[in-house]
């Protein structure tokens, strides 16, 4: 039997780790600092699965009922 992956679940949208250059570009484009981004814990099952590290920015492509597709960003922080 194939191992179940959290990222295959219908409730979980697509998560991608941004490269360093992409991260800098994004922060510049939005004119914000890292602290102002929404957060995601490093203990989050999806973060563990895609292997993101603390400080990485994750690009989330959500299915939205109003816009069809919407893009969201979260920064990985240490869990409490």
């Amino acid at each position: 039997m194939k191992e179940f992956k959290v990222t295959d679940h219908i409730l979980v949208p697509k998560h991608e780790v941004l490269s360093k250059e992409e991260k800098i570009e994004l922060l510049k484009k939005l004119n914000i600092s890292e602290k102002q981004l929404p957060k995601i814990f490093d203990s989050d099952p999806v973060v563990k699965e895609i292997g993101a590290k603390i400080g990485n920015v994750i690009k989330i492509t959500r299915n939205s009922p109003v816009a069809g597709k919407s893009i969201y960003y979260r920064i990985v922080i240490k869990s409490e």
């Binding site: 179940f4 295959d8 679940h9 409730l11 979980v12 949208p13 957060k39 995601i40 973060v47 939205s64």
Partner: protein, 388 residues
């Protein structure tokens, strides 16, 4: 041939627009139907883009207040209605306002946890679904006991078992004895026809026997802990199981079920297993479902805002004193919400500073609040002597 060229022209016009995917899709769909010429198409696109931009909220609009009012106004209507649903469907779920409060307060456990489970493609039959439903439903010993007697003279508990029920669970008296042995020690277990006798090895009091009885009644013989009821239904072409009680982790391991489509209304459980984004999705779908069930029409955007706010910091926060409102930076804003004196005294002890840069505190002291056009500040940068 010509049609392909037109089709390509449409694609080129639409693909570079800065519009949401859905509007683009709708546009190309209706272009296929009405087949406008290139200049017409351009005009249409201009109109759509303009209208879209007009519909957007401007920077500084107080969308939080708008969302709060848009949700709570229908919720007020709900308070008056929920307790008066006269003897309708016996579906045992918490509905209406109580459920909405549960979601927004980020309670650990919903009062009526539920799961929706779909079958895998190769097991998509009524028989398989019924089999799995039977397998996962939790059966405790007390469900199969017909009669129980506490015999104080011999210091034993005697249970009369519903043998048909037991056979239904693919068990017999022997295996029942084995299961019981795992849970209780220092007692002798003997089985007869349809009775089980649990005898104490030493003298006991009636109290201890009572305690023993309650303990063995709670032993689960079959199924997954927490799932008290299962209902097999058909949704479209697919068989699915609705369960009362939620235990995603255990259900994930069952091979007949589709692990990618297990849905639970227990938000904190979803967060733990599938992550914060999945939890956000459940918050939004649960709250919109609750409102829709009551016949209320709330725009999904407001609920999305609530979901985003609650999951912003990587974990689920309640809307209220112990969550979003209690973590505001401004002392006055916190004091304005609930437990005023506590916040003010704490702030005085710690020597907190309120920078008056948010909305509530400015309303409080009768200043222009930084919303809408008042959000802008004048910035003056005098030239340094070197630059002159």
């Amino acid at each position: 041939m010509k049609w392909e060229r037109v089709h390509k022209m449409y694609e080129e016009l639409i693909s570079n627009l800065e519009l949401p995917e859905k509007i683009k899709e709708d546009m190309s769909k209706s272009f296929e139907i009405y087949k406008p010429t290139k200049s017409q198409a351009k005009k249409i696109i201009d109109r759509i883009v303009n209208t879209y931009k007009k519909m957007l909220y401007e920077p500084g609009e107080a969308i939080g207040v708008i969302a709060a009012q848009s949700i709570s106004e229908p919720a007020t209507q709900m308070t008056m209605r929920t307790y008066h649903v006269a003897g309708a469907a016996a579906k045992q779920v918490s509905l209406g306002l109580p459920r909405l409060i549960e979601i927004v307060d980020a309670r650990r456990e919903p009062t009526t946890p539920m799961m929706e489970i779909y079958m895998k493609k190769e097991f998509n039959t009524k028989e398989d679904a019924a089999k799995v439903a039977k397998k996962i439903k939790e059966t405790k010993l007390k469900n199969i006991v017909l009669e129980d007697v506490i015999d104080l003279v011999n210091s034993e508990v005697e249970l009369k078992i519903d043998i048909n029920y037991l056979n239904n669970l693919d068990m017999n008296m022997e295996s029942l004895k084995k299961t019981l042995k795992k849970y209780i020690k220092n007692y002798d277990i003997t089985t007869e026809d349809t009775t089980v006798k649990i005898t104490s090895k030493k003298e006991t009091t009636i109290r201890e026997l009572q305690k023993l009885k309650l303990k063995i009644f709670d032993i689960s013989l079959r199924g997954i802990r927490g799932i008290t009821q299962t209902i097999v239904t058909k949704k479209g072409n697919e068989w699915m199981i609705i369960t009362l009680g939620s235990n995603i982790k255990k259900v994930l391991g069952i091979k007949e079920l589709d692990p990618t489509r297990i849905y639970s209304n227990n938000i904190s459980e979803v967060e733990k297993l599938f992550g914060i984004e999945a939890a956000r999705n459940v918050i939004i779908s649960e709250s919109s479902k609750t409102l829709a069930d009551q016949g209320l029409d709330v725009d999904p955007r407001h609920l999305i805002l609530v979901g985003d706010t609650m999951t912003m910091d990587g974990t689920i926060k309640a809307i209220g004193r112990y969550g979003v409102s209690g973590e505001k930076r401004s002392v006055l804003a916190r004091a304005n919400f609930e437990t005023t004196v506590k916040h003010l005294t704490d702030a005085a002890v710690e020597g907190e500073v309120d920078r008056l840069d948010s909305i509530i505190e400015n309303v409080l002291i009768n200043q222009v609040a930084p919303i809408g056009t008042a959000m802008c500040d004048l910035v003056f940068k005098p030239k340094t002597s070197k630059e002159k």
